[in-house]
């Protein structure tokens, strides 16, 4: 065999050996460490309602009822089997159209002036699965949810406060309200008042 053929064979054998280390042993080790150190996170940070897994606290859920907080619009309709942004350009007519449609929908749903709607309630997130909304967005939805659930604005407001992730260590990120855990808390509050 000439030098080139030998190189290719060496390369193939090298690739197979390193695949065993980097492709098999390494992820298996990380899996083991994950299950040992932080099993809840490694398995998807599941939230439970009445002891049953009811989704991941990190993922948005599709909402249809009046009694829940809506997450941000999603390019994948909150289907976690996929994930995608809209990928629409900032000045593209279809983006402006989508935002106008969302604006009308939200204004009707929340009974607010279209101009007052926070922008995160009108725009699709980067993943399509963003569970978080801004504080302003949560406050906008507060009266509707309080009315539909019959829990009263003070109680719902308290639940919003409990499910707000403030900036980590005071400066990382920004305050955001997790709609998934908030909705789970609402459900809990309604079933066990």
């Amino acid at each position: 065999m000439n030098a080139y053929g030998r190189q290719l064979l060496t390369a193939l054998r090298f690739l197979l050996c390193t695949t065993l280390i980097l492709g098999l042993a390494y992820p298996a080790l990380v899996f083991g460490l994950g299950q040992l150190i932080a099993p809840a996170q490694a398995n998807g940070s599941l939230v439970s309602v009445d002891g049953k897994a009811a989704g991941s606290s990190l993922l948005a859920q599709p909402v249809t009822g009046e009694e829940f907080f809506y997450p941000r619009p999603s390019a994948v309709q909150w289907d976690a089997a996929g994930s995608s942004p809209s990928n629409l350009g900032p000045n593209q007519p279809s983006l402006i159209e989508a935002m106008t449609t969302n604006k009308a929908e939200v204004a009707t749903r929340e009974n607010v002036v279209p101009g007052s709607i926070p922008i995160d309630a009108l725009t699709a997130s980067g993943s399509g699965l963003d569970p978080d909304i801004s504080l302003a967005n949560a406050r906008m939805q507060l009266p509707r949810v309080a009315k539909a659930t019959g829990l009263g604005e003070a109680t719902v407001n308290e639940l919003i406060r409990e499910n707000t992730n403030n900036a980590v260590l005071g400066f990382l990120g920004q305050p955001s309200v997790n709609t998934t855990t908030l909705n789970a808390a609402l459900l809990q509050a309604r079933t066990n008042p």
């Binding site: 280390i21 996170q41 897994a53 009822g65 995608s84 629409l88 350009g89 995160d120 302003a136």
Partner: protein, 551 residues
């Protein structure tokens, strides 16, 4: 969306302090790793099983041939892996990948680009992701390290054409540098919320009553090397915007840190290997200056975006806000990473344009693992040459003459990427059937094409995601841009290293232009800027600049 200058500054300070504390120890470790004559037991076993003679000192041509052989075998193996997915284990019921997509993806991951023309969730199972793509995440980054180490050896050695052993350098980069950091990093990521398991969970009744499958997989182990190796290929389609890849602001900052860790440590390795730490500090200064200025500009461009308070706009994730997005978008495009935590396509024109400029700078600030430093060293040769012309002396780089032979290699190196970018863009936009792949109207459609070729030829991998690149024509053109954008520069760098190694070292004299200190840093920074501006300004004017002005 408000820019909290204080919050952005604080995060930058944290990065500067941690990277500043780590770059010298890391550089020391890297230099020792690539200079050591000892082999670990596992490495000896690996060499034996693959038939490598680790003591062989390779001529630069043999070094290059080994590198090319390894990359070609990797590409073929990865294509075969994807085509046979349906009959191989761990496929999650997913079948054979479309051949054009498989070809594009294989070249993309082997060239450290990680352009993704497929949606991972519906295309690839654990098997291909873990045993194919993630392995290339390690190895393609280790190839970059090997090349820069070979170039430095060329500058240090004299009267030889040998640059070391490719297989040994590749092994050490993967097993001694990338693997240990990845294990620690993966655990940190899991603690913040990144998943690592062997399957999704079907939830029949969600909180809201609907149904959903919570996805799963070996994500953390792939996520960490995706960033550490400046690869960028996401386990999920949404990449680091996906909550399971990047769950909160803390993981976001840690991911930016992972992207920057090795590229910012390489100048320290360089300084030690050439026996003059000042050389390393000067390059580090140039890299840092570009990074800081670019991050500040990106922060400003995003803050000027529509929105009020802490409410975010199209394509952004609420938990990161403007600061976290600006930090990530800058780090990912100034290196060859290309992971994204927001939809770059939806960024305001100025921010999207900045992301392009970052890549067009040649990804040297701090650049990809290995590729950033060898890129900046080649530009240093240009700076030395121009400086030499100004003072009227034969230019020298660390005691090695920069003559006609060297400058030919450098000139070709500088032309490769712009040629691929501009030619690819021009062909695509002038053929209507191809241009249709970018659905946006007007300058934004042009930007989508320009971004795609800039990203491919610079081996970045991020995208203006509106473009559809899975068709045969565009998949092939982008694959060619990635392939030649990776291997032509590498071949030229190794040839340059060989020509430096052959020379005798000339002692420094009073008239030698020093390649350290503020004067050289300014000269080098100026050359990086001027080369980029002269090459790409017309294209940028047609894309993001026109779009920004239209509004």
């Amino acid at each position: 969306m408000e820019l909290h200058a204080f919050a952005l500054t604080t995060q930058l300070v944290i990065l500067i302090v941690t990277l500043g504390a780590l770059h010298q120890p890391m550089g020391k470790y890297l230099a020792a790793t690539f200079s050591s004559h000892k082999h670990l037991a596992v490495e000896r076993g690996l060499y034996k099983l693959s038939g490598v003679e680790p003591r062989a000192d390779q001529h630069w041509k043999v070094y290059l041939r080994s590198l090319v052989a390894f990359s070609l075998v990797s590409i073929v193996a990865l294509i075969a892996f994807q085509l046979l997915q349906g009959v191989l284990p761990f496929n999650q019921g997913l079948g054979s990948v479309d051949p054009w997509v498989a070809m594009n993806t294989a070249i993309s991951f082997v060239t450290n680009t990680n352009w993704q023309t497929y949606a991972p969730e519906t295309t690839l199972g654990f098997g291909v992701q873990m045993l194919g793509l993630a392995v290339q995440n390690f190895l393609s980054a280790a190839v970059g390290l090997a090349v820069v180490v070979a170039l430095i050896r060329g500058l240090v050695r004299s009267q030889t054409s040998n640059l070391g052993n490719f297989w040994v350098d590749l092994t050490r980069g993967a097993l001694r540098v990338l693997l240990p950091i990845s294990i620690i990093g993966a655990v940190v990521l899991i603690i913040t919320g990144v998943v690592q398991n062997w399957g999704g969970t079907d939830i029949h009744t969600l909180v809201t009553g609907a149904q959903q499958t919570v996805p799963g997989g070996p994500v953390a182990s792939q996520e960490v090397i995706k960033l550490l190796g400046t690869n960028g290929g996401g386990y999920f389609n949404a990449n680091s915007a996906h909550p399971f890849e990047n769950p909160n602001a803390l993981s976001n900052l840690f991911e930016v840190f992972l992207i920057l860790l090795i590229p910012f440590s390489l100048p320290a390795m360089y300084g030690r290997m050439v026996g003059d730490k000042r050389q390393g500090y000067t390059l580090l200064t140039v890299m840092s200056a570009f990074w800081l200025i670019s991050t500040a500009l990106m922060g400003w461009a995003l803050a000027a975006f529509a929105g009020t308070g802490t409410s975010v706009g199209e394509g952004l994730e609420q938990r990161f806000g403007a600061n976290g997005t600006a930090l990530f978008a800058t780090a990912t495009t100034l290196t060859s990473t290309g992971a994204v935590n927001a939809a770059h396509d939806s960024l305001p024109p100025l921010a999207g344009g900045l992301a392009m400029v970052n890549m067009m700078l040649g990804e040297v600030a701090p650049g990809g693992v290995g590729s950033g430093l060898y890129g900046l060293l080649v530009l240093s040769v240009v700076a030395v040459f121009i400086g030499g012309l100004m003072v009227g002396r034969t230019p020298e780089m660390l005691g090695k003459k920069v003559g006609a032979g060297q400058m030919k290699l450098v000139a070709v190196y500088i032309l490769v990427t712009p040629t691929l970018v501009l030619l690819g863009t021009a062909i695509t936009v002038s053929i209507p059937a191809l241009a249709a792949a970018a659905p946006a109207q007007g300058p934004h459609g042009f930007s989508e094409v320009l971004y795609a070729f800039t990203s491919a030829a610079n081996n970045n991998g991020s995208a203006f995601g509106g473009i559809t690149s899975s068709g045969p024509a565009l998949a092939t053109m982008l694959a060619l841009a990635m392939f030649f954008g990776r291997f032509l520069p590498i071949a030229l760098v190794l040839a340059l290293a060989g020509s430096f190694a052959k020379q005798r070292k000339i002692p420094n004299t009073a008239g030698t232009l020093a390649t350290h200190g503020p004067l050289f840093a300014v000269l080098l920074g100026g050359i990086v800027l001027i080369l980029t501006a002269l090459t790409y300004f017309p294209a940028l004017a047609l894309g993001p600049a026109a779009e920004g002005l239209l509004k």
